[in-house]
């Protein structure tokens, strides 16, 4: 006789599960894509369920160095994460950028370092899709979009960051080849990637090249010790007479800085989404903790000063989400979106830090001592720096808006 005791666990327990794809995402998609939102919701809901089961539980282990991201990242690629915004003719799904940015938010909630690795990978794919020749697109995009090859974006140098124009890495044309010399710093996916998008100076200005892993003259520094984003590899990439054939030049010589800027505008929307995802999980955890932790005989969620934090955290998350949805939609419309992307990035990255900080405060001593909570702050801390500092992006926003208002 089969009794109620033998019911599968999922049928017996009614504990709330963390649904990283939420009703708020659905409502926003309904607003931004009213005619096809149900189709996009199906995709995001399935992807969110996959992340909840396969990635979210691994995240604390990834932070602790007890699990690698290669396996879950590969599984995510197989699900189609990177195919979302690219044309079908190159193996993409041809879906709106908003669907992709929303997917990255979910991934930021599940594991920020995998989200960072994917974001950088797809920035290279975006660069190829926008500026590469037809031959290059057909050669590289299908394997990048399905994750058969991982990509890395190498722009920042030991002595140049926001002022990328002062880069010291050079590319000299000799016969049918370019010889690249110099080094790039803080490079995500370095050592793991099969394809490197490299920016190097040529006589007419910075140019963009593709360097495959294993090319003689390409080497890597040791892994950099970081406070967060522990799962993604970050190191220096060194080029010593690293020779690539002429056909590895992307677009035109001297246009590299423009290409990098264009790619980074899109990447900033994605970084904003990623940070909303980080803030969301820190908020979810602290809300649950505030309900269960008691002080002076009642849950701390009953105290007004805790409630103030909860209100401000939630308001920040909602605003950040709206900003990146809006920036995505401006990008989709085909007009200049550099200001909107930067607004979303500046706001969401700073908001995320505030939310993670408030979460630590709500957790009190446990927040300061528990990796499980403060890792979100450590992950978020990178992104007011990477992909354009808050300072530089504020200048960009002001410059762009002043030009628009003339």
């Amino acid at each position: 006789m089969r009794t109620i005791k033998s019911l599968p666990k999922s049928a017996r327990t009614k504990a709330p599960v963390l649904a990283i794809y939420s009703a708020e995402h659905r409502r926003l998609m309904g607003i931004f894509h009213p005619s096809r939102h149900e189709e996009y919701e199906e995709l995001l809901s399935s992807l969110g369920a996959f992340m909840e089961k396969e990635i979210l539980p691994l995240s604390p282990k990834i932070d602790a160095g007890e699990a690698k991201i290669e396996g879950p990242r590969k599984a995510l690629f197989e699900q189609g994460m990177c195919q979302i915004p690219f044309p079908q003719e190159y193996g993409g799904l041809g879906l709106p950028f908003t669907v992709y940015s929303n997917a990255v938010e979910l991934l930021g909630t599940a594991d920020a370092s995998i989200a960072l690795s994917v974001e950088i990978h797809n920035a290279v794919a975006e660069g190829l899709n926008r500026f590469a020749s037809e031959e290059q697109k057909r050669k590289y995009l299908p394997s990048l979009l399905t994750g058969k090859a991982l990509a890395s974006f190498t722009l920042t140098e030991p002595a140049s960051g926001s002022d990328a124009g002062t880069m010291a890495t050079t590319a000299v044309r000799k016969g049918g080849e370019y010889s690249i010399n110099g080094s790039k710093m803080f490079i995500t996916n370095a050592g793991d990637a099969e394809l490197y998008m490299v920016f190097a100076k040529t006589p007419v200005g910075p140019s963009c090249f593709l360097v495959r892993a294993g090319t003689p003259g390409l080497s890597f520094g040791g892994d950099l010790k970081k406070m967060g984003m522990k799962g993604s590899r970050t190191s220096e990439v060194v080029f010593s007479d690293c020779r690539v054939p002429e056909e590895n030049l992307v677009g035109e010589e001297g246009k590299g800085a423009d290409y990098a800027k264009e790619v980074l505008h899109g990447a900033r929307i994605i970084v904003a989404a990623l940070n909303v995802g980080i803030a969301q999980i820190a908020y979810d955890k602290s809300l649950a903790y505030a309900r269960s932790r008691r002080a002076f005989g009642k849950p701390i969620s009953e105290f007004q000063l805790t409630r103030e934090k909860i209100a401000d955290m939630k308001t920040g998350i909602s605003a950040g989400r709206l900003l990146y949805f809006y920036a995505s939609s401006v990008k989709e419309s085909g007009v200049d979106f550099s200001s909107e992307a930067s607004q979303a990035k500046v706001f969401a990255t700073e908001m995320s830090l505030k939310v993670c900080d408030a979460a630590i405060q709500i957790y009190g001593g446990y927040g300061y001592t528990s990796d499980e909570l403060h890792r979100h702050w450590r992950d978020a801390r990178l992104l007011t720096i990477g992909e354009g500092t808050s300072e530089v992006l504020r200048l960009l926003i002001a410059r762009r808006e002043m030009a628009r208002s003339q």
């Binding site: 049928a11 396969e54 994460m81």
Partner: protein, 255 residues
């Protein structure tokens, strides 16, 4: 091998709210493919992969059930059959009758798979009823299915034991969740699922309206689980013994 899978578009048990009187709020609740039905679909796909053939998914449901059909098609099923009736407003016998008729119409099949019960009502009645109505052998609570030639060896997961049975094809099998780990469809599979054939059949076109004898679902109530909050005080050597004795008398320790 031709495989049929009967699935249900059911209320999402994780999002079901309960009112203060303990009544589940079915109206307006989010719904999805019944949790264990995913195991049935997965098993069908594994059988298809091992023996080739095709998988047909069948359900009795409202237009909303198309979402569940689409999910099964995205997982890899080849076609769907939707009998357009609301399972919450017809009795279990009628649901089984309609499913059996739909299986007969879309068949013949070698294996008809169901899950052990739906994740909303969990009566577990439909699979054996479908077997009976089709005049086929029924094997319940399968945790492993091996098909060889014209028969199947099935491991049944029972309360305190595993029973192994052999049955000739065609047969009806209900599976338990431990049988497999359902796959996640990829985004491209989800996008392409809408292009797979999905047939809609009005119930009257299958069988004239009837009310076969069937247990009647009257309602359900959430059970409040009160904690006993027993506190043992004293030195650890004594309290540990008291705790073990108390757990033993509650019957929660192995004897």
């Amino acid at each position: 091998m031709k495989i049929a899978v009967c699935v249900k578009h059911a209320v999402d048990e994780n999002e079901l709210k309960v009112d203060p009187a303990g009544n589940p709020q079915f109206a307006g609740a989010a719904s999805k493919m019944s949790t264990f039905d995913k195991n049935a679909v997965e098993e069908a796909l594994r059988l298809k992969s091992a023996h080739s053939g095709d998988v047909t998914v069948l359900t009795v449901g409202t237009a909303d059930a198309k979402k569940t059909m689409k999910e099964a098609l995205a997982m890899g099923a080849d076609k769907g059959v939707l009998v357009t009736a609301d399972p919450m407003s017809i009795n279990t016998g009628r649901t089984a009758e309609l499913l059996a008729a739909a299986v007969r119409k879309a068949g013949p099949f070698d294996v008809v798979l169901c899950s052990e019960g739906s994740s909303d009502i969990y009566s577990g009645l439909v699979p054996p009823m479908v077997g009976e109505m089709l005049g086929l052998p029924y094997v319940g609570y399968a945790k492993k299915i091996e098909v060889a030639g014209q028969s199947a060896k099935v491991e049944r997961s029972l309360e305190d034991s595993v029973e192994v049975v052999e049955a000739p094809l065609p047969l009806v099998v209900s599976v338990v969740s431990e049988i497999n780990e359902p796959r996640y469809p990829t985004l491209i599979q989800i996008m392409q699922a809408g292009k797979k054939p999905m047939e809609e059949i009005a119930p009257d076109a299958l069988l004239p309206e009837s009310k076969p004898p069937s247990p009647l679902f009257v309602g359900m109530k959430a059970q409040a689980m009160a904690r006993k909050k027993v506190v043992f005080e004293g030195p650890p050597e004594e309290t540990a013994k008291k705790l073990v004795d108390a757990l033993g008398s509650e019957g929660v320790l192995p004897r």
